[in-house]
Amino acid sequence: MKSNKKYWKGLEELKSSPEFVEKNKNEFAEQIPLEDVLSEGGLNTVAPRRDFLKALGFGLGAVSLAACQTAPIHKSIPYLVKPEDVTPGVANYYVSSYNGQSILVKTREGRPIKIEPNEKSLFGNTGTDAATQAAILDLYDVSKLKGPKLDGADTSWDKIDSFVKGELNKLQASGKKIRIVSSSISSPSAKSVIAEFITQYPNTVHVQVDAVSYSGILQANANSFGKAVIPSYRFDRADVIVSISADFLGTWISGEEFTKQYVGNRNSASLKKGKMSRHIQFETGMSLTGTNADSRIPVKPSEEGPAIIALYNEVTGGQLPGAQALASNTAANTAIKLAAKELLQARGRALVVSGSNDVSIQTVVNAINSALGSYGTTIDLDNQINNYAGNDAAFSSFVKEMNNGEVGAVFFMGSNPAYDYSDPKLFTDALAKVPLRVSFSDREDETASLCTVLAPTSCFLESWGDESAVEGYFTIVQPTINPVFNTRQAEQSLLAWSENPQKNYYQYVKSYWEKNILPGAGKSWKDLLQAGFVYTGAKPAGSYAFAGDLTGVAQTIVSQSKALAKDIEVHLYQNGAMKDGRYANNAFLQELPDAVSKVTWDNYAAVAPKFAEEQGWSEFDLVEIKGENGYTIVLPLLLQPGQARGTVSIAVGYGRTKAGQIGKVGENAYPLAKVANGSVQFHTTAAISKTGGKYELAQTQTHHSYEGRNIVRETTFADYKKDPHAGTTAHGAAHHNYDLWPEHKKIGHNWVMAIDLNACTGCGSCIVACNVENNIPVVGRDEVRNRRDMHWIRIDRYYSFNDGGKSVTKEDEISELENMDNISVVHQPMLCQHCDHAPCETVCPVIATMHSSDGLNHMAYNRCVGTRYCANNCPYKVRRFNWFNYWNDSRFDNYLNNEFTQLLLNPDVTTRSRGVMEKCSMCIQRIQGGRLAAKLEKRALVDGEIQMACQQACSANAIIFGDMNDPESAVSKALRNERTYYVLEEINTMPGIGYQTKVRNIVEA
């Protein structure tokens, strides 16, 4: 029905008067005086008071409302065009290579944040060393050069290029020598770049020098077998290992590789097979390797030579002179005889190594190994290790050339002789005579600061490149970020300066590989960027026989030994964290406790406790150490059980003066070394006197014996073979436990861990991996001294002593021991045990720490009020408290408190504020990530898919993580092992981490 109703708005409309009709035509019934208002007259009218106040009121109100907006303005720029492969929150992994090891670099939103082993690589499976884990921090080092410099002034690369090229051409014309001084380069492409540089400037010679070189081995092998190479040692094939001061699990040649090989003969799997290698170590200072040895005999540096001669005589029945010098050390003398017997029994499965850099000693070692049939079995001369090509003799003659004014230009590439040469003054004086001094160092270090041209190279994470650690094994270095600063990689600079037709090093590497390496392996460049490495296969290892006269060699050894024996003998060594000193500005490594002494942030003079007593020294006394050449340093004393009496061990790699903000730590011991017998010798003598001062070293552990407590359980291999439960005190019978609390139901997963004390060597790379993964702050020397280190995982190291067949572990008994040389060491990684009956959980007043349904002990940082009751009640003392706001406190500026370095932080892990407790979370972000990945793919989690950061970094595979609810998981199997025990199980905390007993292969003499 249609409505006819009409509504009218007024009588006017109803009447429809003409007046109304006229008005209604327009939109507005009345004319609006717009023109009037906007005309001049209108604008000049005085605003009425009311209007003015209204406007004022509104204006003020609006302005103050606008001003009330307190929220800070964050400029977030969305990806208008999303970069390929970058998804916020999802990590990308790129293969690369570091020190010859194929690695994976984890990047988040374009920032590299973690280095992980490339599991698929040849030597990968698991594990990296601590330095590799810490290397990520070098990218974010604020002490690096921000761009090139010429004569101390910032400049551009163009200017540098034209200047250097001009100078080089002048030098080439004048016939002056040009030298490239580098640390050992294993990179085929870099070597090729240098070769082409030499073609362009034929006056050039490439000198390779290593701070700690293996010239002795190279020379000895050249003399003995005509091959100046470092062979591949095969500790996995050795049943009896005799090491004379070679720290082969730590710093000697390739510790990480050797660890994997060595542990393979000692871990659970090997023990199951009834097999365990026997390791005898003769050494001066207590090394990481020494702590793992089955028998360890302290010898002085002067006794090393005689010991090797004695061993040679015992093994071959020879009559070399010089063995008598060992007679005074009866323990060593007996041990050598025993070792020789064991070596001979294991012919072809025996290996003798020496850490000496002396050609004579290494020659005798070659003779022994040859007599034992090691060549072709445990030593492979045909597949050499390329990491150390440094030649001490070549460097010495280079210094002479400089001194004679023959050198016109020198390029320093990864070498820092002003710091690490044994005679720095000779070097710096000689260097001053060189007109063109170029440094590629990434920072203005000791050598770079003497150079005129600073052409800083990029970090390896910003560079292209390649490496070949072992013959036939090639790894690729690929950048994961654009250069942060205005740096250019050294190879690129050399290409530019040698007028190479290929200006781009990326193209250069690519074409080099495509031409020389990839065709042989049948791989493409793309394959390479996915796999990270190419292996062209090992050459068959030939067997070599030593045939030479050792009389002259033995005489040299004897005279060197006599020279050492006259005074307090000094043993210079590298420690696992600082190595040769190139990592001095890395806070993670500085704070990584020494594997043996647990000292951080310093080097020291280690002496035997009994020797110190004789000399009237006590711990932390400052002593002046005066070397043979008059070089003097003052260092604090550390009483190191196991140190040979009458000797002092000092770590090199410290005392950097120009490494950067934090690198000035300790004293430089390199100048104590001397050049003798054609190589740099790290054994020398010194006069030591007390200065009267004291200096407390920052140690993370200050009590060194386990007081006979049941926390460390060990057995001998002989007992283990009789009863695999030996030493666990369990004997297979299960305890019945009574609970006050209801049991935690673990539906789904039950995350646990197994740690094999017989596999763990104590190297500490797990600590650094954990630091990087979990954003653990570095606290610095003073705070470590205050016993406030923040490490979530630590390695407890305990000494025990053998006194006439009785094990002495209590401190008051140890102090009464006459002989402290029979020392055994155990390393016990300690981290949150994720107890099922967690003492921390019951005492927290605010439920900030609680148990998860999958067996983890959680920590809710946001809920923590910081009473520290949980830490007090933790029997394992693994909880760490944030005493300061480490990420925002000027006291920690040196370490991680700056915006640039904080780019390193793992965005998946909260940084903890001051006043909050923290501890091992069992890498909960990794567990969660793994679970989510499986969930998205609608599948069950696979055992081993989730790896803890510590586990991943462990070269020895000592840590296994997994699901206890899965009886077939690796960790379940490991925990069913007879050797399994739980630390402090008697207080019924029901820890989630099981340990396997330490087994020592001790032969009853």
């Binding site: 200050t702 926390i711 923590c864 009473t867 003392k877 300061f884 006043g915």
Partner: protein
């Protein structure tokens, strides 16, 4: 209650001649109604300086973080919780005196309960500051209360002894405060009645309209009894619960069932020592010798010797049980206390708490003001060390020797503790200036029954047996506030 005469054989609780109700009022209110004397100013000046030190150090700690203290990864509590337990312990005497002694009708408490209760309240305040200060994030301290919150059902952990502590301490504080204030009402009314102007108005409000009527007094007496009944269990419970902080843990040296009684005895021990420390000075400076007599001092010394001996037995029992348990961690913890790096703290504790109070067996020492004062200080030092020994020497060497560490206090630790003593004395000295330090009403209550003048009168009037009268005179020998010549005449 006090209409009848007390036995002549009992020692007088009020001495002096011509003590009247008004004289008591005059005497007690001297510090409240007059300008403070020099002694007060000196004491107050020192206390305020120390209190300001506390303000500065605690502000610094809050600003920078707990790293300013000497704690470390192994020793998570040290001077903070030592100070906390020490102050809570000191607070114990107040309730014991006001509640337990009231129920047992120990009239001698009437002269000392006011100051003792005030001391309790101030000591608990000092203890509470430590609870907050020891937290890593003190601004979230309110999270330890089961408050409704926006997190859903996020509750506190009722399993945690720290939560029990929160309840125990807050209950204790509030009950003590109410008890103290109730007792103050008639006295405040007295001040009000004597004051003028603004003072009168303030005290008028504070007196809650006390009129002194029979009904008022009747209710006052009942409330006192009820509150005494409520407080009595608190005397036992508070330190029992504080001891649970340790006893329920796993820490060797803490995990001990003897802790509750041992802590309560220790608390009473230190509480009485502190009362002694304060009142011996107060009675001299305020000239209150007639009200706080040698009998009071001796009685407190007797309690000190009893509780001190209980504590001593507890120490020895701990050692025995550690040995008897056969637990190596437990054995080591006690061996370490005796002979470890902190041996001096243990032996300091032993000397101060067990050996030196035994001197009170000698009447001469027990009734010597100087000896009592010095020993009261010694006891408080000893009790501080007891808590230090329990907390630090247990923590610094527990299960895993790798984590063994030493604790060294920083300047902040020390200043904070010394400062808290300043806070305590500042509050106490202010209290003496505004409120009567002796419960006037309660002292007046016993004037007609237990004072020396009443007993003298009885003797003079021959209402007591001669031998009893002589006995009474002889036992007055020790009194510094009684002149023996008064008795020569009779």
């Amino acid at each position: 209650m006090s209409a009848h005469n007390e036995s002549i054989l009992r020692e007088p609780l009020i001495t002096g001649k011509n003590i009247t109700y008004s004289k008591i009022t005059e005497d007690v209110l001297v510090p409240v109604e007059n300008k403070p004397n020099k002694a007060w100013w000196i004491g107050f000046g020192i206390a305020v300086i120390l209190a300001l030190t506390w303000v500065v150090t605690i502000s610094y700690t809050f600003w920078v973080g707990l790293g300013t203290w000497g704690l470390n990864k192994t020793v998570g509590w040290a001077w903070d919780i030592t100070g906390f337990v020490w102050w809570v312990g000191i607070g114990h005497a107040g309730t014991l005196i006001s509640a337990v002694l009231l129920l047992f009708r120990q009239n001698w408490r009437n002269s000392i309960n006011r100051s003792a209760e005030a001391m309790t309240i101030f000591a608990v305040i000092c203890a509470a500051t430590y609870i907050i200060a020891h937290m890593g994030r003190p601004w979230l301290a309110y999270w330890v209360f089961p408050l409704p919150n926006q997190f859903g059902s996020l509750w506190v952990n009722f399993n945690s002894p720290l939560i029990w502590d929160v309840f125990a301490i807050s209950t204790y504080f509030s009950v003590s405060l109410v008890f103290w204030y109730t007792g103050l009402l008639p006295d405040i009314a007295t001040i009000r009645d004597r004051a003028t102007g603004l003072r009168r108005r303030i005290y008028s409000i504070l007196s809650f309209g006390w009129a002194g009527s029979v009904k008022n007094w009747q209710r006052f007496e009942s409330v006192s009894l009820i509150l005494a009944g409520i407080s009595t269990p608190l005397v036992l419970s508070v330190h029992t619960i504080v001891s649970f902080d340790f006893a329920t843990s796993l820490e060797p040296g803490w995990h001990t069932t003897i802790f509750p009684p041992y802590f309560v005895a220790g608390a009473i021990f230190s509480g009485f020592a502190m009362v002694q420390t304060l009142l011996l000075i107060a009675r001299k400076v305020m000239k209150w010798e007639n009200y706080i007599t040698m009998f009071h001092i001796e009685s407190m010394n007797v309690i000190i010797i009893v509780t001190g001996s209980i504590v001593g037995v507890a120490y020895l029992t701990e050692l025995f049980i550690a040995w008897y348990s056969g637990v190596e961690y437990e054995q080591y913890a006690f061996l370490n206390r005796i002979s470890g790096p902190y041996w001096w703290a243990y032996w300091c504790m032993m000397t101060c708490n067990v050996i030196s109070p035994q001197l009170f067996w000698f009447k001469k020492i027990r009734t010597s003001i100087w000896a009592s004062w010095v020993l009261s200080i010694v006891v408080n030092i000893g009790m501080w060390f007891e808590r230090f020994v329990i907390i630090v020497t247990s923590l610094h060497r527990d299960y895993l020797p790798s984590s063994w560490a030493m604790f060294y206090p920083t300047t902040i630790d020390i200043l904070l503790f010394v400062g808290s003593i300043g806070v305590f004395f500042t509050l106490f000295l202010l209290f003496l200036r505004v409120l009567p330090g002796i419960a006037m009403a309660e002292v007046k209550l016993i004037l007609k029954s237990s004072s020396d003048q009443v007993k003298q009168k009885l003797i003079r009037e021959g209402k007591v047996e001669k031998s009893h009268g002589e006995y009474y005179q002889e036992s007055l020998e020790k009194y510094d506030s009684v002149s023996k010549s008064d008795y020569a005449k009779s």
